[in-house]
Amino acid sequence: MRENVVIRTVSRLAVPFIQVFALYVIVHGALGAGGGFQGGVVFASSFILMIVAFGLNSVRKRLSNKWIVVYSVLGITIYAGIGLLCLFMGGNYLEYGVIEAILGIPHLHGYLLDAVEIGIGITVMAVMTSILCDMADKGGESS
């Protein structure tokens, strides 16, 4: 796999397009088919393509273990944090209509939904990449 010029060239060309498509799928969850879970898995599949074509170290250099853990906690903090924001503004937990009624910005319900989907996408991407990096390890890994 490491010596094959065709696989390396095609992977190097395809990875940015896969990542842009994954961001498109996450953000367009409200207008058409898509959403947080689907876009997160497509984003992780671009990292899996890099592992298969270039070896494990190419992804370890770019996403060290500390950053994977930071991303996976960041996504769930965004989700729970927006819920707490609704609680502070006087409604129930995760009641987006209260923020829209107080601030008065139209379509804010839809924008909050998009923010929550981005949080879900970040967590799913980090966890899928972490699972594959841990399983692709051959015997003994330290930090």
Binding site: G32, A33, F37, I131, D134, M135
Partner: protein, 125 residues
């Protein structure tokens, strides 16, 4: 006679397919000795349950549950089973990931994956 045949077989074929897949997955889960094959049987069983559940959502002549532009009248399929199965798929992926990592650790510790050999090695220690 033809009416009964149509009622039972041709207009309910989705339940037949789901039940046959369920039986294949259940047999692989119970009767195979290799641990990885048991996990694959569990995955087949889960897929059969998803197909069974989503086939409840179909309405004849309906389209995907995304609103068409103003003024076009359309019949939409039921969106609720799609939402519930989305959650169930993610749970299935998580269970498969943890199960496979447990199998990797069992292999590193005892050296075998077969179920009978594993019982002998564990009792022999």
């Amino acid at each position: 006679m033809i009416e009964a045949f149509y009622e039972l077989f041709l207009s309910r074929y989705n339940y037949w397919m789901a039940i046959i897949l369920m039986l294949i997955g259940l047999y692989a889960l119970i009767a195979k000795q290799n641990l990885v094959k048991k996990l694959i049987g569990l995955n087949i069983f889960q897929t059969a349950i998803f197909l069974f559940y989503i086939s409840f959502a179909e309405v004849q002549g309906g389209t995907a549950p995304i609103y068409l532009p103003e003024g076009v009248d359309a019949l939409y399929v039921n969106p609720l089973p799609h939402v519930l199965i989305l959650t169930a798929i993610v749970v299935g992926v998580s269970v498969t990931a943890v199960g496979l990592s447990l199998i990797v650790r069992i292999y590193e510790e005892y050296g075998v994956i077969d179920e009978d050999d594993l019982m002998q090695v564990v009792r022999g220690r």
